[in-house]
């Protein structure tokens, strides 16, 4: 039951249009503070980096297609697999999930008109963009980071890796971390405070629970990465000795700090996927999730337990068992929240009346691969077995099933699912199904043989391998699979690109969706909802009465907030309408601030510390401009 704009409501809507419309053209995009536009910019930027990372992946697979490959020199290979890791994790998955999906959908789903801090939202996008370009700058100068995305010292120290390539990595991560921290603060406050009246915690869509969990995980995990990178740069550029055993430092300190961030990171990658799955499954199964509270809980709990498992990346460094055992226990127990969700999804599909359209197909593929990746993950929590296959292709297989199979599949499904909402047009169902089967098969063919190669003893990160060890055939199969996979992805992009212009009009609610975003027009207006919706269950679109009442209120011109650039704020737990906020409008300052920061980090890499300081001061001045105009303080 979507919003209907009756003649009587028209003047109100036009008035809202006037208030909320931003500047036209390119300027509008640069100065925008609209969470939807920012989400779209995130989407295309992340997609571009996905392309780059994909090309790197294909290079790797082509190099390894047969023994003694010579496509890439060892130097080139190291840079390629390092950039592949960095790109896919920091520049694709996180921005695509939190940045694109989160930014576009969270405010819509909770019935808000924008994020809590729109300008900070824009800022985190621009910082993300610049940090991505910053890290690829290293590739352009012909000398990219080459010590792996895990970047273990002392291999990454000045002694064994002269040149500034690792500095791009270190500063790039700190730079990128600022963006993610700002974004996660923004998400948490938005979800806590901007929920539509009546959306108490128990009425919040599961999608939002997932993003809440992600935001918290990012908030607490990133500092550890930033500190690790800070130490690294102090070591490399000022000759400190955090990681230098000869001076009482500890190479393992890097590994600990990195994985304290690195494992929560894995759940930061996977949780939005859970969220997307829990948004798609009820819609196509035409029923509410089985055991709603447990699913919500599981999403939060995964993020929390994720902080207690990091040493299972380090079982082979020779820690005492009394230390590792704590991590082993946590690594095992964290299986349970995942299992809860898994079986809740399955039973929901089973007991509902599922229509297997493309989005749901991708979710089913996600479930299958999540089981495979999850199970191989359990085996890695068993210390002896882990010590056998650690750093072998078995691990590569495991985390690609988790990250690609389980995290990227829902992203692809979500791209199909919300495409009609974002563009107002339908994608091509048949092509969609074909693209799914291509991607599904490609993923399996690429990554499954890696389990076997790993158990046969093939280590990771080798730029080549000798023949005659029983590895060659499996590697050949993997490489072929990689190309199938790539073709599937290209087909998806092509399908969406064509449908964007040729697709049939979609209407507001093509799938009988369950959450609020389907009630507004497609694409949604800048103010999202003409009338502030009121909510009485986690599936507001299935509460006909509420939506009808919203329409009546629209006609009476009630609850419109048409006096200014305004949106409601509500209480944290029970979402009673608390106050009316006036939101800042479009502004040029966020991109400028990000640009100044980019200057700071570039100067730091070049070791011009005074120039860096100058940029920092300039950055402070932009913040004054930020508060000076356009926002009524």
């Amino acid at each position: 039951m979507a919003t209907v704009i009756s003649p009587r409501a028209k003047p109100h809507v036009e008035r809202l249009e006037r208030i909320w419309t931003e500047r036209p053209g390119l300027v509008g995009w640069v100065t925008t503070t609209d969470h939807k536009r920012i989400g779209i910019m995130y989407f295309f930027t992340a997609l571009a980096f996905f392309g780059a990372g994909g090309v790197e992946a294909l290079l790797i697979r082509t190099q390894l297609i047969g023994p003694n490959g010579t496509l890439l020199s060892p130097q080139a290979y190291d840079e390629v697999f390092t950039m592949h890791g960095i790109t896919m994790i920091f520049l694709f998955v996180i921005p695509m999930t939190t940045g694109a999906f989160g930014n576009y959908l969270v405010p819509l789903m909770i019935g808000a008109r924008d994020m809590a801090f729109p300008r900070m939202n824009a800022l985190s996008y621009w910082i993300y963009l610049f940090s991505g370009l910053f890290m690829y700058l290293a590739l352009l100068q012909g000398h990219a980071p080459n010590a792996g995305w895990f970047d273990y010292v002392p291999l990454a120290s000045k002694k064994f890796d002269p040149g500034n390539n690792i500095d791009f990595y270190g500063y790039g991560l700190i730079f990128n971390g600022i963006s993610s921290t700002a974004a996660s603060i923004n998400f948490i406050v938005t979800i806590f405070k901007m929920r539509a009246p009546g959306m108490s915690l128990n009425r919040m869509p599961l999608f939002c629970f997932a993003f809440l969990a992600v935001a918290f995980a990012l908030l607490f995990a990133l500092p550890s990465l930033s500190v690790a990178a800070l130490f690294l740069e102090l070591d490399r550029q000022l000759g400190f000795h955090f990681y230098d055993a000869a001076f009482g430092g500890a190479p393992l300190l890097w590994q600990n700090l990195f994985w304290i961030f690195g494992h929560p990171e894995v759940y930061i990658i996977i949780l939005p996927a859970f969220g997307i799955a829990t948004a798609i499954i009820p819609t196509f199964s035409h029923r509410r999730m089985v055991f709603f509270p447990l699913v919500a809980l599981a999403e939060i709990l995964v993020a929390f337990l994720g902080f207690g498992v990091w040493v299972h990346h380090m079982f082979t460094v020779g820690f005492a068992t009394v230390t590792t055992v704590y991590f082993a226990a946590a690594s095992l127990i964290i299986v349970i929240p995942s299992a809860i969700q898994l079986f809740s999804w399955i039973t929901t599909i089973l007991t509902g009346t599922p229509e297997f359209k493309t989005p749901l197909l991708f979710i089913v593929g996600f479930i299958v691969y999540f089981i495979i990746g999850g199970l191989s993950g359990v085996t890695l929590a068993a210390i002896p077995f882990d010590q056998q296959v650690h750093d072998s292709y078995y691990v590569v297989a495991h985390f690609h099933f988790v990250i690609f199979g389980a995290a990227v599949f829902p992203i692809l499904g979500g791209m199909y699912f919300w495409f009609p909402k974002v563009t107002g047009r339908m994608y091509n169902e048949t092509v969609g199904k074909v693209s799914f089967w291509l991607t599904f098969a490609g993923t399996f063919i690429t990554f499954f043989p890696m389990h076997i190669v790993g158990i046969l003893g093939m280590p990771r990160r080798n730029y080549t391998y000798p023949g005659g060890l029983g590895w060659s055939l499996l590697n050949f199969i993997e490489s072929i699979g990689a190309y199938i996979l790539a073709s599937g992805l290209v087909l998806i992009v092509a399908n969406l690109a064509v449908s964007r212009f040729r697709g049939a009009p979609a209407g507001n609610d093509p799938f009988e969706g369950d959450t609020l975003e389907w009630s507004t027009t497609s694409p949604p207006p800048p103010y999202n909802y003409p009338v502030i919706p009121t909510v009485s269950s986690p599936y507001p679109m299935w509460d006909e009465e509420d939506r009808k009442r919203d329409n009546r209120r629209l006609e009476r011109g009630e609850g419109l907030l048409e006096l200014g650039h305004e949106t409601p704020a509500s209480t944290v737990q029970d979402a009673q309408w608390d106050e009316i906020l006036s939101m800042p409008s479009y502004s040029i300052w966020p991109p400028l601030t990000a640009l100044m920061l980019a200057g700071v980090f570039t100067a730091l890499v070049m070791q011009h510390y005074f120039i860096a300081l100058g940029f920092l001061v300039a950055d402070g001045l932009t913040l004054i401009g930020w508060h000076h105009k356009g926002v009524r303080t």
Partner: protein, 210 residues
């Protein structure tokens, strides 16, 4: 759910009195307060990591501090930190009187705190320079973590001082509007956390001497 009329347009509160009234009516903490609180969560995690690293290096070394470096002196840092911690009181009252809509006392209280904080920072910088003459961060892992930990902490004090000045400037220039009332509360929150961290940092710094 309550209808629109009952809900306050908080951003329209231009006078100190109105801002105070809005602030008292609010059922939940304002967005700005939450933003600062969450930012401080990240800061706490940051210091947690630094202090964790300190003890990690401590535990895995033969001798801490290494031979040739004498453990830090106790008295001055402790006194300075105590003085800094006391600035939580004026900040607490600044937030209170802001909610009561008393602009003048807010400004006065922040200035008092500001003076103490500046003295603290100055003293700490002197101590820092003095330590640098004793031993260097390039000399050992102990030096590295010691100076990094302190530098990061002092950077936070410096940042807080800049925040003080910003808020003061706008309190004078814009007055105690709803926006800057929330600013004052955020500022107070920031200082409470930084002061607690200062105590933890100083005890970490002095742990070899205690």
């Amino acid at each position: 759910m309550k209808g629109t009329p009952a809900v306050t347009r908080s951003s329209a509160a231009w006078s100190a009195a109105a801002a105070g009234r809005v602030s008292r009516q609010r059922m939940a903490q304002p967005n700005g307060w939450w933003g600062m609180a969450l930012f401080l969560c990240a800061e706490v995690a940051l210091f947690g990591t630094l202090i964790g690293s300190y003890f990690y290096l401590d535990f895995q070394s033969h001798q801490w501090p290494p031979a040739g470096i004498k453990p830090p002196g106790v008295v001055l840092p402790l006194l300075a930190t105590a003085a800094l911690a006391l600035t939580s009181l004026p900040m607490l009252h600044a937030a209170r009187s802001a909610r009561a809509g008393r602009r003048g006392s807010v400004i006065a209280l922040i200035v008092i705190a500001l003076v103490v904080q500046c003295c603290y920072l100055a003293l700490q910088i002197l101590l820092f320079r003095h330590d640098l003459n004793q031993f260097t961060p390039q000399g050992s892992a102990y030096g590295s973590i010691y100076f990094t930990l302190l530098a990061v902490h002092h950077a936070h004090v410096l940042f807080g001082i800049v925040l003080d000045l910003t808020v003061l400037f706008f309190l004078v220039y814009r007055g105690l509007t709803n926006y800057w009332l929330i600013g004052v509360r955020g500022l107070a929150l920031y200082w409470h956390v930084v002061n607690v961290l200062a105590v933890i940092v100083v005890f970490t710094q002095l742990s070899p001497s205690l």
